[in-house]
């Protein structure tokens, strides 16, 4: 079986219009690098942003926004184009339907959401950089401007300012898997944070905002437990260029009122990217922060003291949450945790200005943990069946 992991964060060099996708083959345990040549990009072009557009039953395509011309605003023009991803055996395919924009496409994010007018699921592309947040719909391999009808996709984002630098979405479902709430957090380049909570049951939309001192580099919703326990509220991680990373606890009920600063996370220059993963396999999520100062911080949040309460991280601001520091070859600009090797174990993938770091847990230790847990699980199930039998007899 072959696994393809396409990194969804800027896989291309801005300078020469070339990029690469990395493919892992499980059969011979080797990584292949597939070069991507953005043929549309000429010498005078500069890529501003890149995003993956997923497609059902076929490889995704890369959408890239670029600026053509010199730096002076008068002569430069802004464009959007796509590149069809494929495996190395199938050959590469470039679909070019260039689309001219009126503003620099500095930020892009794809979201799969329901079209309220047709009641069908659609993938839309949000683009920041203009006065307002723009929205494009994917129609027969062409990107159509749907900014005016953004209400039918995401009504809470209507009239949102265009200087978005980071975004995250969290969907909360009830026991019957029916969508209950949708939380969207937008970080802006001027330090503003916009939180919207769309309650599908009441139809109410709550808007909350907060201000930081500098460019918001990443925002992430997360639960403290890897498998959220019933009634657990999500938390929000915010990283910005000049400040320490901040966790807003229980955003659903307290919004921005309960912040906790992750001390010492500003010691290695600005935090450029973040990621949430249970890397120490204790069932609790850790926060990973990639910094400009050649380091990746792994922050471990203390386990909940009040076991009864589903709420809350028992984190004290003065405590340094740093669990481990990974030294990188160069400045990190993107960080993802994916199961690259398709074995159930997440790998940390860090894109730096000099190359890609793939960190994997020591497999011998992981196997030791698995063996132990399997034994305990068996014993637990045995005791349970014994108890059941006893109760039946009595």
């Amino acid at each position: 079986m072959e696994v393809t992991a396409h990194l969804n964060q800027r896989p291309a060099s801005k300078k020469n219009g070339r990029g690469a996708s990395i493919e892992y083959s499980q059969t011979n345990c080797e990584c292949k690098t597939i070069p991507i040549n953005f043929s549309q990009i000429q010498n005078s072009c500069r890529i501003l942003s890149i995003e993956i557009l997923p497609k059902f039953n076929s490889p995704p395509s890369i959408i890239f926004g670029y600026v053509k011309g010199t730096n002076s605003d008068d002569s430069s023009s802004f464009h959007l184009d796509r590149y069809q991803m494929s495996t190395i055996d199938q050959g590469q395919k470039v679909i070019s339907h260039p689309c001219v924009l009126q503003f620099p496409p500095k930020f892009m994010k794809t979201i799969t959401t329901k079209n309220l007018s047709t009641n069908e699921m659609e993938t839309i592309l949000l683009i920041g950089g203009g006065e307002r947040l723009a929205c494009f719909a994917d129609r027969s391999e062409r990107l159509i401007d749907a900014t005016k009808s953004i209400e039918i996709y995401l009504p809470e984002l209507k009239n949102l300012a265009g200087n978005v630098s980071s975004m995250d979405i969290l969907l909360i479902s009830d026991e019957t898997q029916k969508m209950k709430q949708r939380l969207i957090i937008c970080g802006h380049s001027n330090g503003f944070l916009n939180l919207t909570i769309n309650d599908f049951q009441t139809g109410e939309i709550i808007h909350r905002s907060n201000e930081h001192d500098s460019f918001i580099s990443s925002v992430r919703f997360f639960y403290h437990n890897y498998k959220p326990i019933e009634g657990e509220e999500p938390n929000l991680l915010v990283t910005s260029a000049l400040e320490q990373a901040v966790v807003y606890r229980d955003v659903l009920s307290t919004h921005f009122l309960d912040p906790v600063v992750l001390a010492t996370t500003d010691t290695r220059d600005c935090v450029t990217s973040s990621c949430i993963v249970d890397i120490d396999l204790d069932g609790k999520n850790e926060i990973l922060l990639g910094t400009y100062g050649d380091t990746c911080f792994i922050c471990r949040l203390p386990s909940v003291v009040e076991q009864q309460s589903p709420k809350g991280l028992s984190l004290i601001s003065e405590e340094s949450p740093l669990y481990r520091t990974l030294t990188l070859a160069a400045s990190a600009y993107s960080l993802v945790c994916v199961d690259f090797t398709n074995d159930g174990l997440d790998e940390i993938i860090i894109a730096t200005t000099k190359g890609l770091h793939i960190h994997q847990l020591g497999l011998d230790e992981v196997m030791y943990i698995l063996n132990n847990r399997m034994e305990i699980k068996k014993q637990l199930s045995l005791t349970k069946t014994n108890e059941k039998n006893l109760s039946l007899i009595s």
């Binding site: 345990c29 498998k227 249970d278 990974l326 030294t327 074995d343 994997q360 020591g362």
Partner: protein, 422 residues
């Protein structure tokens, strides 16, 4: 290229500069674990052992040390130290066992004759005494000890483009002093500056040498064949290659055994590896006639070493650069890169016992007067293994439980177990 972060380090303080040829790893006290021997510009010979914070042995006043090597004479390790003036110092350390025997004998003697005076333990800064010294020709650069037909030979490469080979006889006196005789066997002038000399054992009794010179020129020859048969060495025995774009690029060469796996022919099992200061790394066939692999890196490379760093039964290459980047290269030319946070002026890699056992280590002398030993490399494989394959490879209960499941079910089961602490 794969980047790794190696966290386990031991640091020692050192004063003064160290030349690349003046650092080596060897078992100098016959305890089956290696020590680090370092000679400095300030004339200090320092021996480091284990993870202790300072040196274990020290000798000073040895002049400007340019090269250090260790040879085994009658199962006794002898340290050869050459300084720029051509003075050769020899040190012979007693094995740990012998020292204990002497100590206990002394203890008995003292108990009887000195009225039970307590014996003080040996100071860790125990001064190392010169066992023998002799003035040879000045300006040596590289020294090497080899054996030819039962005879020990001292090979010295000089800054003045000369190679001299001395036959060497050493007898040990009872008080740890040495009686030594050097006889000049061969003096050989080469065209360019000698950078490194490496030897390759042809059989139990014979060896051949490869001298690397500026600009990537390599010379391979058998010095003893030249002496015994009086042949003109150019006939079929002298070969040179030109691998560097820069005329003056510093070139290093090493013989490399067991680099390619699954080679059955014994004669082609050894290849030669070279690195140049302009960043090229090359692999040459056994007779230097064919360049089998080549790669160009963007760093100033030095300190080419070999070792089974991956623990996979084959040797890999390790090379460092001034800015602290270390590259580990395997037979597929897959590269692992490790960055030390400091600038490096001297690098070696090999077996060293930080704890009781010899393990592969990277050793750096930095510009901040420090020796950094990176141990516990744990560079298991160049390949990115995956958990599913590893479970199927091992015979354990995990395999028994999971092997009958489909790959998706198995993955689900693993995820369930991994993130549920029991």
């Amino acid at each position: 290229m794969r980047f790794v972060s190696l966290a386990n380090t031991v640091q020692y303080d050192i004063h003064g500069n160290v030349l690349q040829q003046a650092i080596c790893l060897a078992d100098v006290d016959a305890n089956k674990s290696n020590e680090l021997v370092v000679g400095t510009f300030q004339g200090e010979l320092l021996i480091f052992k284990g993870a202790r914070k300072t040196f274990w042995k020290k000798a000073s006043g040895l002049g400007f040390i340019v090269a250090v090597t260790v040879g085994i004479f009658q199962e006794r390790a002898i340290i050869f130290v050459a300084n720029a003036e051509g003075m050769l110092y020899l040190f012979a350390l007693k094995s740990t066992l012998e020292r204990r025997r002497h100590a206990s004998a002394d203890q008995h003697a003292s108990e009887h004759s000195y009225n039970h005076l307590p014996i003080l333990p040996a100071s860790p800064e125990e001064e190392l005494k010169v066992s023998y010294s002799q003035q040879l020709i000045c300006n040596p650069k590289v020294i090497l000890v080899e054996e030819y037909d039962g005879e020990k030979q001292l090979i010295i490469g000089y800054y003045d483009q000369t190679l001299r080979i001395f036959s060497c006889t050493i007898h040990e006196e009872s008080d740890a002093r040495l009686s030594v005789r050097f006889i000049l066997k061969l003096a050989f002038n080469v065209a360019g500056q000698i950078h490194t000399i490496t030897s390759n054992r042809l059989n139990k009794n014979a060896y051949e040498l490869v001298i690397s010179q500026s600009g990537g020129n390599l010379i391979r020859f058998n010095p003893n064949e030249m002496v015994s048969t009086d042949q003109i060495p150019a006939i079929g025995r002298l070969l040179s290659t030109d691998i560097s774009k820069h005329e003056n690029a510093i070139t290093e060469a090493i013989s490399l055994e067991n680099f390619f796996p699954n080679i059955t022919q014994t004669d082609s099992n050894t290849v030669y590896a070279t690195c140049t200061s302009d960043g090229s790394i090359n692999i040459f066939s056994n007779n230097l006639e064919k360049q089998t692999r080549s790669i160009q890196l963007n760093n100033v490379l030095f300190g080419l070493q070999k070792g089974d760093f991956m623990n996979d039964g084959t040797n890999q290459l390790a090379v460092s650069s001034w800015d602290g980047d270390t590259f580990i290269i395997d037979h597929r030319f897959d590269i692992i890169r490790f960055k030390l946070d400091e600038k490096v002026r001297c690098f070696t890699a090999g077996l060293y016992a930080v704890e009781s056992m010899n393990t592969y280590c990277f050793i750096y002398v930095t510009f901040n007067d420090k020796i950094v030993i990176v141990h516990n490399l744990e560079l298991s494989s160049m390949k990115i293994n995956n958990l599913a394959t590893m479970i199927m490879m091992r015979e354990n209960k995990l395999k028994e439980t999971l092997s009958h499941l489909s790959s998706d079910q198995m993955k689900q089961q693993i995820v369930e177990l991994l993130h549920t602490p029991y």
